[in-house]
Structure formats: structure tokens, C-alpha cells
């Protein structure tokens, strides 16, 4: 073995250690909920952000097209779905990934200027990240008035009420909510139920204290208490705020983002900032809501795999065995998958632990070399959208990040290091 190879190996190890330290030092706090156009850098005019790696309108999957049409209608840039499609086909609406704007979005992930987003600040590094609300309709591609009515309530009542509460009480530290929720059977991706309740507990008194008018207060409390997926938008923004400081550590091969647009699955790697490594999006193994079957399903979609990127979601299945029923699996399967993730990561989290695994920390810092050498693909639990526009959520299940992304990234990394 040559000295150069040894030098390179130790340099990669050192860079990974630095990147991992940035991830484990993160301290996310919820600071605001604000219209995306006011806070998201570069989101201006007729522009919609979407999930996953970049993709033009013509190549978008059905669910994402439906979701984009929904926001064009909701922003009143067009008055009919047909008119919206024309605008999009003619290129009058700019489409860019959330990830290019420090943001993330669940499923289609569509974010337009008027849509309020959760704003999470990583206090350690001062960077901010954004995520739209998680719901089961418009972000899955449904664009009728019923689906858009939920966005109206979010913009007009729920988000302003929460914002008032936040301004009154100050930022909400998320580390403790997430840490406790992980110990209550959540994995913060497909099961954020406990975190949603804990968050509602915090915000109730804050909104009362902020003198939110009674009608808006009651409606918002109902929304917070009755929406088990409420916290997903917050956990995603938190995860993005934790992952972003890892970007750009020269020589590091840790993954800083995994995201899917329903056509392609993409990853980004610390030492190669700004580059996507993509492979065809896989299909999701899962269960379906009444009225829907496997043949209705679109391919894997959403920025929500940012939760797995920081060690939650599929990486903490062992602490949230209930979620594994999505694949007809067992608690043993959950434990096994969770242990598998140790094989492909650089370390464990000091803050986020799983009682079911003897309070072991979540596995964090996905190392592309280890994925390629073990063949173990990161596991992600996720929701399922229809392959055509116009439908709400149709199911949920498990999916694995395609190893092809990691192989491509490794080849490019080697090339840039001059060892190819």
C-alpha cells in the first residue's frame, strides 16, 4: 500500500470526523413560522420549490405535477388547472429544488411564496432551514378546492396563531421535544405523533399568552391537537438545519441530503457540495389506504429522507416498532434494520437515543464508502402518493436508498481525489 493511499484514507477519516462533529453539535430551535416569500432566500415572483433533485415540469411525476398545479391555483396565478398547466408548460413558473434554498418539503414538497413555512435555526451554527406544512392532500398531488382549503386555513389562521405564540414565548428548543418523542415510540418521519402532542402542549399556553383571538385560538388548538403529522414539517426543517453545516467539509464522504422527486432519488455528499448523485426512484413496499392498491402507487418521493440523513426515520425503526407494521414486519425486523444502519454510519448521536436498544444513540453520518462496501442501503420509511395527479395520500411503507447513487458518488469522489 502506498503512502499516498494511506494519507488519503486518513484525510477522509479526519474530514468525516469533522463533518460528524458538526452534525452532532447541532442545536435546532423553532424560531418562526412565516410566509416562504418573506424568509426563503431567492424565492421570489412566480416560483415554486419542489422536493428532490432538480427536475423540469415535463419530466415531473403525476403527483408532483398535481401538487404544483395546486399551488399555481392557490397563488391565483391561474384560474383553472388547464391554465395552470399552460403556464407551467410555457416556463412562466420557475421550478427549483427546496434543497437549493436551505429548505425541504414532504412528498411533492411544493413551496410557493405565500405558503407559510416552519423556520428552524441551528443555534450552534446560526444557519436557518425551512419546511412547509405536512398534510395529506395537496402535497400528494390533490388540487381541488377541498385540498386547497386546508392551505387557506394554514395561511390565514393556523400559521399566524402559532407565529403569535412563538413571538410571545420565544424560540422552542427542539432537541428536547425530539429526544423525548424518540423515547415515546416516534421516529419523527412517518410517526411524529408524540412529538406533535408535545409541541401542542408547548404552543397552547403560548398562544393564550399571546392573546390570539378565541376563535382562531380554538381552531388552531384543534389543528395542533388533531393532526398527528403536524410535527413532520418541524422535524424536517430541524433535520435540514442540522445537516447543512456538514456541507463542504473537504474530503468528507458523509451524506448531507437524501431527496426524491418521484422520478429520481438523489444524494448530496459533504466533500462535494452542490452536486447531486441520482438514480431512478425506487418503488415503495407498503400498505394502502382503503380504495387504493399497489398498482396506483407512484415512485418514491419527498425531501423527508432528510430525517434519515440525520439518524431518525428508518434509522430509528428499532425504537418505533409500531411503524414497521407498514411492511408486515416484526419488532425483530425493526431491530435488525436499525442495527444494520450502524454498519454504514460514522457514529452515533449523543442527543437522540432509543430505549429499546438500551438507550443506544441513533446511527448518524451515512458514509458512502460503507454503503458501497457492505451493500446495505439506507432504509427510509415514507408515505405513498398516486402515480397520477389529483389524489391525496394513498399509503405508506419502506424503501431503500438505491445503492447506485452511492456508487456514482464514490466514483466521482475518487476522480476528484485523483485516485481514479
Amino acid at each position: 500500500m502506498s503512502t499516498t493511499a494511506l494519507d488519503l484514507k486518513s484525510r477522509v477519516e479526519a474530514a468525516n470526523t469533522t463533518a460528524l462533529a458538526r452534525l452532532t453539535a447541532a442545536d435546532p430551535v423553532l424560531v418562526d413560522v412565516a410566509p416562504a416569500g418573506d424568509v426563503v432566500e431567492g424565492l421570489e415572483g412566480r416560483m415554486i420549490l419542489h422536493a428532490g433533485p432538480p427536475i423540469p415540469w415535463e419530466r415531473m411525476c403525476g403527483a408532483m405535477r398535481g401538487s404544483v398545479i395546486g399551488l399555481v391555483l392557490w397563488e391565483r396565478w391561474a384560474s383553472s388547472p388547464e391554465a395552470a398547466e399552460r403556464l407551467l408548460a410555457q416556463g412562466h413558473i420557475r421550478l427549483e429544488p427546496n434543497h437549493h434554498h436551505h429548505g425541504v418539503g414532504p412528498m411533492a414538497g411544493t413551496t410557493s411564496p405565500s405558503l407559510p413555512v416552519w423556520v428552524v435555526e441551528n443555534r450552534t451554527f446560526g444557519n436557518r432551514a425551512y419546511c412547509r406544512l405536512a398534510e395529506s392532500w395537496q402535497q400528494f398531488g390533490q388540487f381541488d378546492s377541498e385540498a386547497l382549503a386546508g392551505l387557506d386555513r394554514w395561511r390565514d389562521v393556523w400559521a399566524p396563531s402559532v407565529r403569535a405564540g412563538l413571538r410571545k414565548r420565544g424560540p422552542v428548543p427542539l432537541k428536547s421535544i425530539i429526544g423525548r418523542a424518540l423515547q415515546m415510540g416516534d421516529e419523527l418521519h412517518n410517526r411524529p405523533n408524540a412529538a406533535s402532542s408535545l409541541f401542542a402542549n408547548v404552543m397552547g399556553p403560548a398562544m393564550v399568552d399571546a392573546d390570539v383571538p378565541r376563535a382562531a385560538l380554538l381552531e388552531t388548538m384543534g389543528y395542533l391537537a388533531g393532526n398527528e403529522f403536524l410535527f413532520l414539517g418541524i422535524s424536517m426543517a430541524a433535520a435540514k438545519s442540522c445537516a447543512e453545516p456538514m456541507e463542504g467539509v473537504d474530503g468528507s464522504v458523509l451524506v448531507t441530503a437524501m431527496a426524491r422527486n418521484g422520478v429520481e432519488f438523489g444524494i448530496r455528499v459533504s466533500g462535494m457540495p452542490g452536486t447531486w448523485f441520482v438514480a431512478p426512484a425506487p418503488s415503495v413496499e407498503g400498505l394502502f389506504l382503503p380504495g387504493f392498491k399497489a398498482e396506483d402507487a407512484g415512485l418514491d418521493m419527498g425531501d423527508s429522507a432528510i430525517t434519515e440523513t440525520v439518524g431518525w426515520g428508518g434509522f430509528t425503526l428499532g425504537g418505533a416498532p409500531g411503524i414497521l407494521a407498514l411492511t408486515g414486519g416484526t419488532p425483530d425486523d425493526a431491530m435488525r434494520m436499525t442495527r444494520d444502519m450502524r454498519e454504514i454510519t460514522a457514529g452515533t448521536s449523543p442527543d437522540y437515543r432509543m430505549p429499546a436498544l438500551g438507550f443506544a444513540g441513533c446511527s448518524v453520518g451515512i458514509d458512502i464508502r460503507k454503503v458501497v462496501s457492505t451493500g446495505i442501503e439506507p432504509v427510509i420509511d415514507t408515505a405513498i402518493a398516486h402515480h397520477d395527479p389529483g389524489y391525496p395520500k394513498i399509503g405508506g411503507g419502506l424503501v431503500h436508498a438505491p445503492i447506485e447513487c452511492f456508487r456514482k458518488a464514490l466514483a466521482e469522489f475518487a476522480r476528484r481525489q485523483g485516485v481514479a
Binding site: L287, P290, G291, G322, L326, G328, D332, R336, G396
Partner: protein
């Protein structure tokens, strides 16, 4: 037409993921088209209505009520699915789990006393897994076929040198201490040990012994190639020695395809010095072994045990045989059963032009599709088509029961048998369908129930494969 049935369970909260799983298992029940299982929140009630489940029960349900709707082809099927709910929701229904690990290394902590590896990965990967198991001091049952001969030779040598038994590759059946591995029938424990490279041969002999009131001490499969001169009978010899030393074994049956010449000699000298009787049955090699058929092998074993042993499956085939013109088509799931039947035909002097026997489980016919013992569809197609063939006057079939086999193999074949018979009679011909079932009353499929289905389809049932072949030979003569 379809029918819908509902169950509303008041004040029953179940998680939505659990409910999706519940719906999925109900959807696998006969005739069930669609299942919705939801807590009756207003939004979910709308979803139920959108999915076509509506009615007074649903409208009246409260948010803390669980609603399960089933639509099925018939009302009875819908109700049966609803009834299954009670079972699925009972606390006892919690799945009994099998611990899963990722690596061989983890086995030593998960199950430190493990003494047997059961390997059924695709053939090209089997050798590596066999070696991993042998390295950990485990005996191996390898179901995988298509393992390179040189790997088998090397690994059998390795196993032998360590005192380990490598059953397979291409081993279908073993029974160790009453526990069946791979394809095996529910047979009583008893004084007869079985060794051999023929899976269905072991199954047939063990069933015959069971039917005669006797039973099996251990049955040790060795793999289809073990007795070839290339491999040299390494596993066969180790297994024979183990049974010779085994206190619970009084008589041994060796059932195999014809061994290679030098291997046959080695086996003969071992058997000659054995303190226990060894009955040999070499299928497809007339006169090479002591017993010409599996029936004969079982009968000789029983005779060697002494005492008044009943003849296995005493009731004979129907005696009034109609003479038939044309030829017989044999479609076999068990390769050894084919060899046995062919031996019977040859012995009876039936000209090769009068019968065509097809091994539906052969490598060529199972490439890209499941084995006929697991999935009958391909064989059923062949049966149905045979009804069109004017030259076919008789069809001979084996139906193999037991663990590992299809849940209702007779039921899977009956429609095709009826169709073949109908096609033939449409052309003014009669078609004789002769079937022997290999299995026991205690098997999951229940022998008598399988036979009943076949009998109702107009099949001539004969108790054993050899006698079924003899019956067809008689008809052809």
C-alpha cells in the same frame, strides 16, 4: 356481483398502520375484493364512502369506533372475512416471530447451540453459505440445486473431514428426530432409518412405513448427485454409518437413483459388513438394488423388522381394468417417482412408444417457474391440453403432500383434470386418469381429503405410485 359486510367495534382504538396491516391480511381471504379498516373519524368516514363502503352502520359510527368493511364475491365470503377479524384482533394472534440476523457471526450469539444450517439460496451462492456453516461446525441441509459439482466434491470432503454431514446440494427431504426438514410428511417415529439422494423416494418410503403402522427413526437426504462416482457417495456413507450406530434404528432403507459403478461397490461392501439390515432401492436401474420399487423397499424393510407387519396400503387398485388403445402420458412432480414408474412399465414389457413420462420438476421445466410440488399451474396446463391429444388414452399423475408442498395440490389439479376429461369426451373418447397420492392422513393437506377431491373428479385412485404405474401398464397391455 359482490356483497359487502361490516363490523363496527365500539370504543376500539387501533393505530392506522395496524389497521392497514389488518386490511391486507383480510384481503388475502377467498373471494375478498376490498377491505377498509378505519377509525370512524369524519374524514375517514368520507374515505370509506369514497371507497364504496357506506350504510347506516358507517354513518352512525363515532370517532372512537372501529369500522371494518369487506366487499367480497359472495355474502358468505364477506361474512367469513368479518369473522376472521375476531381471530386477527385476539391477543393470541400476535405473530410468533423468528429471530432474524444478518450475518453468520451473529448466529453464535442468537442461537449458540445451532447444529444444522438449512440453506436454500440460489445455487450460485449456496457454496459460500455451506462453507460458512461448516466453518462454524454445523451440519448442513442444502436444498439449493445448480451448485457446481466441483464445489460439492470439495465441500463434502470438507464436511467429512470434520465429522459433519452435508445433506445436499439438491436435497429435498430429511427427517431428524421426528422433525421434518424441507419437503417431508408427517410420519410416526419408528425403527426404520432412511438414507438417500432421492427426496420424493424418501417421502414415499416414509409414508408407506407410516401407513403400515411402523415409522422412521431418521431420514437423511444426501443430494441427487451424491451417489455419482464424481462425488463418490461421501454423504451416503457417512449417513449410513450414522444410522448403523444409531440405537433407535433397526433396519435401514437406502433409496437413490442408480449409483455410479465404483460407488455402488463401495456401498455394497459397507452394507455387507453392516450389523443392521440395509434394503437398497436404486431407481432407474433394474436389478441393481434389492428392491425394484419404493413399495418393495418399504415391504422388505417391514419384513426385516420381523413380526406380523401389515402390507403397506393393503387395499389394491380397482381390479377390473379396461383395456385402452393409444398411449399413456405421465406428468410427474417427483423425479424419483417417474423413475420408479418407468421401471414398472419396462418390467411389464410396455413398448416405449406406448408411454411418455415427463419430469415436471426437472431443471429445464422449472427454470423461471416454481417447482410443481409448490405450484401446480404449469402441470395443470399440460393436463388440460392432454385432453385435446387424441393419442393420449391415459394420464398418470403423482400428488405429493406434506410440509413444503402446495396447500391443496389435488384441488389445484382437479379443474384441469375435469377439463381434460371433458375435452376428450367432446371428441368421443374416454380418458383414464390415474393418480397416486404420496402423503399421510396427518399431513397438513390430509390425504383422505385430497383423495376425496380427486375421486369426485372421476380419477382412478391407486394407493402407491408403483401400483398406479402397474395399473396403467395393465390397461395398456
Amino acid at each position: 356481483m359482490s356483497a359487502t359486510s361490516y363490523s363496527v367495534r365500539h370504543h376500539t382504538y387501533l393505530d392506522s398502520v395496524f389497521l392497514m396491516r389488518l386490511a391486507k391480511s383480510l384481503e388475502t381471504m377467498p373471494g375478498v375484493v376490498d377491505v377498509a379498516a378505519l377509525m370512524a373519524t369524519p374524514a375517514n368516514k368520507q374515505m370509506l364512502r369514497d371507497a364504496g363502503f357506506s350504510g347506516v352502520d358507517v354513518d352512525a359510527a363515532a370517532p372512537d369506533d372501529l369500522v371494518v368493511g369487506v366487499s367480497a364475491s359472495t355474502a358468505v365470503q364477506a361474512q367469513e372475512a368479518i369473522a376472521e377479524l375476531d381471530h386477527l384482533l385476539s391477543p393470541q394472534a400476535a405473530v410468533e416471530t423468528i429471530q432474524r440476523v444478518r450475518t453468520w457471526g451473529e448466529v453464535s450469539t442468537a442461537l449458540p447451540r445451532a447444529n444444522l444450517a438449512v440453506i436454500s439460496v440460489p445455487g450460485e451462492f449456496a457454496a459460500a453459505e455451506i462453507e460458512s456453516a461448516l466453518d462454524r461446525g454445523m451440519h448442513v441441509f442444502c436444498f439449493s440445486s445448480n451448485v457446481e459439482a466441483r464445489d460439492e466434491i470439495r465441500l463434502k470432503g470438507l464436511a467429512h473431514s470434520r465429522g459433519l454431514l452435508l445433506m445436499g446440494p439438491d436435497c429435498g427431504t430429511s427427517i431428524i428426530g421426528g422433525k421434518g426438514i424441507g419437503f417431508s410428511n408427517a410420519v410416526r417415529r419408528g425403527p426404520v432409518g432412511i438414507v438417500g439422494g432421492s427426496g420424493t423416494g424418501i417421502q414415499a418410503v416414509s409414508c408407506l412405513l407410516h401407513a403400515a403402522g411402523s415409522g422412521v427413526s431418521h431420514a437423511l437426504g444426501t443430494g441427487s448427485r451424491d451417489a455419482s462416482d464424481d462425488v463418490g457417495g461421501v454423504a451416503t456413507i457417512d449417513a449410513l454409518n450414522a444410522l448403523i450406530a444409531d440405537a433407535g434404528t433397526r433396519v435401514i432403507v437406502l433409496v437413490s437413483k442408480a449409483p455410479g459403478e465404483s460407488t455402488r461397490m463401495r456401498l455394497a461392501s459397507l452394507i455387507a459388513t453392516s450389523p443392521k439390515p440395509v434394503v437398497t432401492c436404486y431407481l432407474g436401474a433394474a436389478g441393481a438394488g434389492a428392491a425394484a420399487t419404493l413399495d418393495d423397499a418399504a415391504a422388505q424393510a417391514l419384513a426385516r423388522l420381523g413380526g406380523a407387519q401389515a402390507t403397506p396400503n393393503g387395499s389394491g387398485p380397482p381390479s377390473a381394468v379396461t383395456h385402452i388403445e393409444g398411449r399413456a402420458l405421465g406428468l410427474f412432480a417427483g423425479g424419483s417417482l417417474l423413475l420408479e414408474a418407468r421401471g414398472v412399465m419396462e418390467q411389464a414389457g410396455i413398448a416405449p412408444s406406448r408411454f411418455e413420462f415427463v419430469d415436471m420438476g426437472s431443471e429445464e421445466l422449472t427454470r423461471g417457474r416454481p417447482h410443481p410440488m409448490i405450484d401446480s399451474r404449469f402441470r395443470a396446463d399440460r393436463i388440460a391440453k392432454a385432453g385435446e391429444d387424441a393419442s393420449v388414452a391415459a394420464i398418470l399423475l403423482d400428488v405429493v403432500l406434506g410440509r413444503g408442498a402446495a396447500g391443496d395440490p389435488a384441488g389445484d389439479l382437479v379443474p384441469a383434470i375435469r377439463e381434460a376429461t371433458a375435452r376428450a369426451s367432446g371428441q368421443g373418447r374416454s380418458l383414464l386418469v390415474v393418480v397416486a397420492v404420496c402423503g399421510t392422513e396427518e399431513d397438513p393437506q390430509v390425504r383422505s381429503r385430497q383423495e376425496g377431491k380427486l375421486r369426485d373428479a372421476g380419477v382412478t385412485l391407486v394407493p402407491t405410485n408403483a401400483r398406479a404405474a402397474a395399473f396403467v401398464a395393465e390397461a395398456l397391455r
